[in-house]
Amino acid sequence: MVEHRPVGNLLTHVLLMLGVAMVLLPVYVAIIASTQGPGELMRGGLPLLPGGHALENYRLMWQSGLSSSSAPAAGKMLWNSLIMALAITVGKLAISLLSAFAIVYFRFRFRLFFFWLIFITLMLPVEVRIIPTFRVVADLGMLNSFAGLSIPLIASATATFLFRQFFMTVPEEMLEAARVDGAGPMKFFRDILLPLSITNIAALFVIMFIYGWNQYLWPLLITTDPEYYTIVMGIQTMINSEGYVPWHLVMAAVVMATLPPVLVVLFMQRLFVKGLTETEK
């Protein structure tokens, strides 16, 4: 700050508080709504303070879900989301680390070709090639399975690039020293490269976990069996049903769906910011 302006500072705080209030509003409303009893929302004018039905709403959604929709219990869907998110995250990290290692530390035929092949995936998001991708997964018999939910999403140009950039900054002497000491390629990878990359891995883990957890179109396409519904896509089946929508229960599911990734961001904010600014995508 250049000058001392007490009024300016006050205005800054007011502005920021308004901004924060606006950002918090939808979630605040969701939390309030999720604590109301049946029918209380229908009276018009949402209450501004929590009601007394939080425990029963959350317990009902966690254990049995909405009877009026095809979605199973929220507990089950949260579990599915967790498995899918972790499988995507771990898969992306593993195959990106390996391919970045190959591209940086080896010289072999078609290296450039493979590099571009991986690069191209950046340009083909699921959204633009929905139907042919669905067909491939269907032909492979991977509909309604965790393999189908995660494997097609684990190719990642972004993570490969990030690790490539990072490996390029690792001093040459590391490899020389390892080779003088007689370490093979995989030993070098495991005992030197991986420990050095640990912060990058953690930062990407945060970003990829959020990415995996928030998948929507993909589970929508390849799950027809409610056993495999994830929470983010399951919620939509609750509000698109005709007739009465029990919003207090839907909002309980919304809060449960939002909590895990938001907690990850809040508790790992430093890693989250690092991951976000370094992947730039």
Partner: protein, 294 residues
């Protein structure tokens, strides 16, 4: 492309290391994309019984289809609206936070978490607070004399999806703007202040030009986000309605292919979208190169 000065002995090992990534890419990216190109040239009946080669006819039909042209302009309005709203809010917040020292971290924490909310969930949250009969915002708007109804009014529906999409993206833009602001040398601003430039003038003649690279970068990222990552916002809320008012391109590909079973048209739409992504990616990468030298 560079490698290390000293490399490891090759043999089959690098191929084995690349294999998982390459196999997944070939099966789930390259092959389906090729299929999209191929199907875009065919006409198939919905049951898959007959297919005829029609050349570029699917594309010709697409660009003569008023619904597709409508979808293009809807996408443009949506992408521009989301980008402008989200970036201007984020810039305002970042400038404010940048003035502060002690409370900077607290405000940052409070502003970044929506990044973690899924677009579909963001859509449901805003759908709920704008719900015509039980939402709180229509209740307030009603007192101002405006009857909000996103089920019947196309404008209301468009505003709703823009709010939801922009809300989620503020966090991302905020972090990049804040980083951009913090990299501006304080001495420049102080020098301008000594020369008597008002805060407003300092912003327009120093801060804003120096922030231009960040702004351009974010514009591309936001347009990509609005065009391709917001499927969930639309599908969970308006489903393209009312009367096609929010039928953005990525939603239309899905609706025409899965619900309408018009495979040739959907494949042609996929090809058009891929062309758009390629163009945007090229812009983005060229731009990142320039940004480094700025």
């Amino acid at each position: 492309m560079q490698t290390k000065r000293m490399t490891l002995p090759g043999g089959w090992l690098p191929y084995a290391l690349l294999a998982p990534q390459v196999i997944v890419t070939l099966i789930f990216f390259i092959w389906p994309a090729g299929q999209a190109f191929y199907q875009a040239l065919l006409r198939e009946d919905p049951f898959g019984l007959s297919r005829t080669f029609v050349g570029l006819d699917n594309f010709a039909r697409l660009f003569n289809d008023p619904l597709y042209l409508n979808s293009m302009s809807v996408t443009a309005v949506f992408a521009i609206g989301t980008t402008l709203l989200s970036m201007s809010m984020a810039l305002l917040m970042a400038m404010a936070v940048n003035r502060l020292i002690r409370s900077r971290h607290a405000y940052t924490t409070l502003l970044v978490w929506p990044y973690a909310v899924a677009p579909a969930i963001a859509g449901v949250l805003w759908w709920f607070i704008f719900h015509p009969s039980i939402g709180i915002l229509p209740y307030m708007l009603d007192m101002l004399g405006y009857r909000w109804n996103h089920r019947t009014s196309g404008t209301d529906a468009m505003l709703l999806v823009i709010f939801a999409a922009a809300w989620k993206q503020i966090a991302y833009n905020f972090l990049f703007f804040l980083a951009g602001l913090q990299s501006i040398p304080q001495s420049l601003i102080e020098a301008a202040a000594i020369d008597g430039a008002s805060p407003f003038k300092r912003f327009w003649s120093i801060v804003f030009p120096l922030l231009a690279p960040t702004t351009f970068f974010l514009m591309v990222v936001n347009v990509v986000y609005a065009m391709f990552d917001t499927f969930g916002v639309i599908h969970a809320t308006t489903q393209g309605g009312p009367a096609q008012a929010t039928n953005i391109l990525v939603y239309k590909v899905y609706a025409d292919g899965f619900v309408g079973m018009n495979l040739g048209s959907s494949a042609a739409q996929s090809v058009v979208l891929m062309a758009i992504v390629v163009a945007l990616t090229v812009v983005q990468f060229r731009f990142i190169e320039r940004r480094v030298n700025y």
